[in-house]
């Protein structure tokens, strides 16, 4: 039995470990601590945990104020609420103001599952990418999420990180080097480059094993930093794989990683571009397995797209 853990918990385990040495780190919550994982911070540092109640606009405004007097707030809610309800406050009080607020959005993609479409964030990457000054992060597993707390802390400015509710297998290790804005190569191949973010990276690793049985060797790039995007590594790796690329994200097709990668490759010739993403529709309730199948977000779907890219 492979141990599975959620990035929402990995992130806060990492933040708790970091905050022991940095008393200016605060967690700010909007009454969803047990959902986002920030309850772990509350347990460790109750005096540095602030709950503003069910008020995502005020969550961002208060965090901006804390940052303006020298503290480093990590504020959180489910991604659909913090990036949706809080958007204009994030836009003006944080991004436009270039204020050192860290935003944590959990329950991203359709794997928020049972709660249904109202709670499944599919546009968070698009809206956060659209803001100047905003760094956008998307960890693939527990270890990577845990390390992101330090990356966010060391970056002086606004950062958004999207975490997931669904536990997944680890595909990275504690020892792996993680640099902001630097794509991480998880597998070397020559036939097709699979570019994945978040838990799609785990599915991409499974897809690569299936493709190997067909004698298709896939390279895998994990994009943990959606913005700034490591376009140089992406271009080199895709061209190494004959221009064949499949981008995988648990987000809507508009405005997310696949459009960012397509833009990065637009000046290159002979690119065969495929993607696995949510095809412009909202989610609904269901088990994770059923939803992933229904929305075409599976290792088998990645295999089909990769096969098509190679054979086109």
């Amino acid at each position: 039995m492979v141990d599975k853990r959620a990035t929402r918990h990995g992130f806060y385990d990492g933040l708790v470990a970091l905050a022991g040495n940095h008393e200016e780190i605060f967690a700010v919550d909007a009454d969803l601590g047990s959902a986002t994982g920030s309850h772990l911070f509350k347990k460790a540092f109750p005096e540095r945990y602030i709950d503003v109640g069910i008020a995502e606009q005020n969550l961002i405004g208060i965090s901006a104020g804390l940052a303006r007097v020298g503290l480093v707030p990590f504020c959180s809610s489910m991604a659909v609420f913090v990036t949706g309800r809080g958007f204009e406050i994030i836009r003006n009080a944080v991004a436009y103001s270039h204020i050192n607020v860290k935003i944590v959005g959990s329950h991203t993609g359709i794997t928020a599952a049972g709660d249904g479409g109202s709670h499944q964030a599919i546009a968070d990457l698009a809206v956060m990418r659209a803001l100047p000054n905003m760094v956008v992060l998307s960890p693939c597993d527990y270890h990577q999420a845990a390390k992101m707390a330090l990356l966010m802390y060391e970056h002086d400015g606004p950062v958004y990180v999207r975490t997931s509710r669904e536990p997944v297998e680890d595909v990275t290790s504690v020892q792996d080097d993680l640099q902001l804005g630097k794509a991480q190569k998880l597998r070397t191949g020559k036939d097709v480059c699979i570019i994945a973010t978040g838990m799609m990276t785990v599915l991409a690793c499974k897809a690569a094993q299936l493709l190997a049985h067909e004698d298709i060797q896939a390279s895998i790039l994990n994009i943990h930093t959606i913005k700034p995007l490591d376009t140089e590594t992406i271009r080199i790796e895709v061209l190494t794989c004959g221009g064949h690329v499949v981008v995988c994200e648990e987000a809507n097709v508009y405005g997310g990683l696949s459009e960012a990668v397509a833009t990065a490759l637009v000046e290159d010739n002979d690119i065969i571009f495929e993607r696995v993403a949510i095809e412009d529709r909202f989610g609904q309730s269901g088990s994770t397995e059923v939803l992933l199948e229904e929305y075409g977000i599976t290792p088998e779907a990645i295999v089909r797209k990769a096969r098509r890219a190679v054979r086109r």
Binding site: N58, I62, R68
Partner: protein, 270 residues
């Protein structure tokens, strides 16, 4: 000249400077700038602690950011920003952006312009100071029309919940918002009762009377935030602009300009 006379003279000068800047820029908000001028003068020239190291300073947020010409005139008069900036209002690269921008001017404590943000950010600053065991006070000036924004009420609830006795919210109660009187558009009703029920100590004053302003702004309210409802007149100081909806964002022309300057030169409080 006693202190009150000193403040009155400053306010007279600041209104003229603000009008200079707006006329040169060709756009800006005169009505709200003039209603809020005396509140800002009382804060910057008497009430706020602004000596020594910045980390010890009291902080000011102009939540009704469109009234910025009055603030900019004060920042120049106090020598924080050089006079050369005066006629750069709303121009490319200016420290005096169309709405306050702390990136462009380090003497602006908080970027504002989008209404409703200032109170929420002020709550965060006040809470942050308390968490650090610091004595800095935070002053937020908000418009009455601005209170239509829901985030204000989220922030009011939080201010009382966190016992922010270092936070003072001044409501510039000029009774007019952009296109209509507040009580005709979205009535605030009994604002005193509303704020008291949200957990504030509430003080109502004449927002153009420096004696009342200074007493109220220096008032200490142990364990609770303080709300000052400052009854003001939009366009205060120019007779044809006073309490008139039209002068939210309009500019005077021709003889109106001459009359405005004449009245401001002779403007005497009280």
């Amino acid at each position: 000249m006693n202190n009150i006379e000193f403040l009155q003279e400053k306010a007279r000068k600041i209104r003229i400077e603000a009008l200079d800047m707006i006329l040169k820029a060709g756009s800006g908000h005169i009505g709200g700038s003039f209603s809020v001028t005396d509140i800002l003068v009382a804060l910057y020239y008497d009430v706020m602690y602004l000596a020594g190291d910045f980390s010890d300073h009291d902080r000011f947020i102009l939540s009704k950011g469109h009234a910025n010409p009055a603030l900019y005139a004060i920042l120049m008069d106090k020598g924080y920003v050089p006079q050369e900036a005066k006629y750069t209002l709303r121009q490319y690269g200016s420290p005096f952006q169309g709405h306050p921008d702390s990136k462009m001017c380090s003497f602006i404590d908080c970027t504002t312009g989008s209404l409703g943000h200032g109170i929420s950010i002020g709550v965060g600053m006040s809470l942050g100071f308390k968490k650090q065991g610091k004595k800095n006070r935070v002053f937020v000036v908000a418009g009455d029309g601005e209170l239509d924004e829901g985030i204000c009420w989220e922030a009011f609830m939080a201010a009382a919940n966190f016992d922010l006795d270092n936070l003072t919210v001044v409501i510039d109660r000029n009774m007019i918002q952009l296109g209509e009187r507040t009580e005709n558009l979205m009535r605030l009703g009994d604002l005193h009762d509303k704020m008291a029920s949200f957990g504030f100590v509430v003080t109502e004053i004449d927002g153009h009377d420096f004696s009342e302003l200074i007493v109220a702004l220096k008032k200490e309210t142990p364990t609770t935030p303080h709300c000052i409802i400052a009854h003001t007149v939009k366009g205060k100081g120019v007779s044809f602009m006073e309490d008139a909806i039209a002068w939210h964002g309009c500019l005077p022309k021709g003889d109106q300009i001459v009359q405005a300057y004449n009245e401001l030169q002779e403007y005497c409080h009280g």
